[in-house]
């Protein structure tokens, strides 16, 4: 067996789904043990299989688990309401419950846009970088994970200055600015992330840039970014789609 056989006969796919005969499986194993390319392909396909399986399991999570999640959310809301009752500040309580970023509101339309521009910071998955030389980035992201966006922004700014091509630093710096209500700076950083082209952060950069623009009442610009986020068809697609529909409704109600 050689690499061409593997490609033409879809051997890797058949191997991971258990559709090869004993002899074929042994032949493929003997091949990939000596072939870097086919070994890499096997590992990728096994990971794809694993990720898809986990997603399927999550989608079919038992109803009981979903009820538990709903009950937990109810407890958080009740806690927030109790706190609001104690302090007389419902808006503040809701903000704490949702950990939302501050948005200035002046009239009804602004309020609607502010709702659309509300930001839940994306969870940082510490899987992209490793090594000893990027401690500063790690430390900044540790602050980010602790919701200390001011400290995280300071660290990320230093990283982004040293390495302007670092899409992760530019993106999370933009998010930190959003969380701090520094919307012009946020838009600038998110634009830089987009300008870097294809990166793991690209889809979300369009989405959060749209939110930054909404906060600056630039609905046309936000629409453009949302359409870009949708076109990329990543995990941000659904949220961008929903946001675009609501933005359309707000705009037509003018």
């Amino acid at each position: 067996m050689n690499c061409d056989d593997v490609q033409e006969q879809e051997i890797v796919e058949k191997y991971v789904t258990g559709r090869l005969s004993g002899g074929e499986a042994e032949a493929f194993e003997a091949h990939y043990f000596a072939c870097e390319r086919c070994c890499e392909e096997l590992q990728t396909l096994q990971t794809v299989q694993s990720v898809l399986r986990r997603r399927t399991k999550a989608a079919h999570r038992p109803l009981q688990a979903r009820w538990l999640a709903a009950a937990a959310m109810l407890l958080v809301v009740l806690g927030a309401a109790w706190w609001a009752h104690r302090t007389g500040s419902l808006r503040q309580a809701v903000r704490i419950a949702r950990r939302e970023s501050p948005v200035r509101v002046e009239n009804a339309r602004d309020e609607a846009l502010a709702l659309l521009a509300r930001v839940d910071p994306p969870r940082y998955v510490r899987s992209v970088l490793r090594g000893d030389g990027q401690e500063r980035f790690r430390e900044a992201m540790r602050q980010y994970s602790l919701a200390d966006y001011g400290a995280a922004a300071a660290g990320l700014q230093a990283v982004a200055e040293k390495d302007p091509q670092n899409s992760a630093a530019q993106f999370y710096l933009g998010v930190c600015y959003l969380m701090e209500d520094r919307n012009s700076e946020a838009a600038e950083r998110l634009r830089k992330t987009v300008a870097l082209g294809d990166s793991p952060e690209l889809g979300h950069a369009h989405l959060y840039l749209a939110k930054a623009l909404l906060r600056r009442h630039d609905t046309a610009g936000a629409e453009v970014e949302l359409r870009q986020a949708i076109a990329l068809d990543g995990e941000q697609r659904q949220e961008a789609q929903r946001l675009l529909e609501r933005l359309g409704a707000v705009s037509s109600a003018r």
Binding site: T47, S127, R130, Q165, P200
Partner: protein, 194 residues
């Protein structure tokens, strides 16, 4: 593992039999992922594969230390046969205990036994999958998880079987290319920090 790789493998086997401990680490590095992929494919149980990997490596190293491999250039085939035997033995034991519940497939990612590498590879694959067209994702899901053939998928999605085959091949290629590109970008970023 072609050309200079084959020479390296040869050298590793000889050095291990001569008592070189560094060569043992090299062997682990060279073969762990390959063995693990095989064990996962054969046992369909990543958790058990993690344990079996250790058993395979220990068995290989013990044999090499004792000089049981007469032709060093046959090291890959030697490792392969031990890995297969261990997988078979595990499956035999499991079938004897077949009253026990069958392990849940694929909870852990089977591509590697290194947790950091698993997390990295999974993150890259997730991103790559998210960039696929929804129909392509559906085709991959039905092929790799449900085990459906192109004809069945075609009927469910209102496409021709040939179209399903083409889209599936393109989707797999796209994921592979995206993973490679993203991985290179990540490593480039890592290098810029070091």
């Amino acid at each position: 593992m072609h050309d200079e790789g084959a020479e390296q493998v040869c050298g590793v086997a000889e050095r291990i039999s001569a008592g070189d401990l560094a060569a043992e680490s090299e062997l682990v590095h060279l073969f762990s992922q390959r063995i693990f992929a095989l064990l996962c494919a054969r046992t369909r149980d990543p958790e058990a594969s993690r344990d079996l990997l250790q058993d395979v490596l220990v068995a290989v190293l013990m044999a090499l230390r004792k000089g049981q491999l007469r032709e060093p250039d046959k090291l890959p085939a030697f490792v392969l046969s031990i890995a297969r035997n261990m997988a078979q033995a595990y499956l035999r034991d499991r079938s004897r205990e077949s009253h026990d519940e069958f392990p849940e497939e694929g909870i852990a990612s089977p591509a590697s036994s290194d947790p950091i590498e698993i997390a990295e590879r999974e993150a890259l694959v997730r991103r790559a999958l998210d960039r696929l067209d929804r129909t392509d994702r559906e085709i991959l899901l039905r092929t790799l998880i449900e085990g459906e053939k192109p004809g069945v998928i075609a009927e469910a999605l209102g496409l021709s079987p040939e179209m399903v085959r083409q889209r599936k091949s393109r989707a797999i290629k796209k994921v592979r290319d995206l993973v490679t590109n993203l991985s290179q970008r990540c490593h480039k970023t890592q290098r810029s920090y070091t």
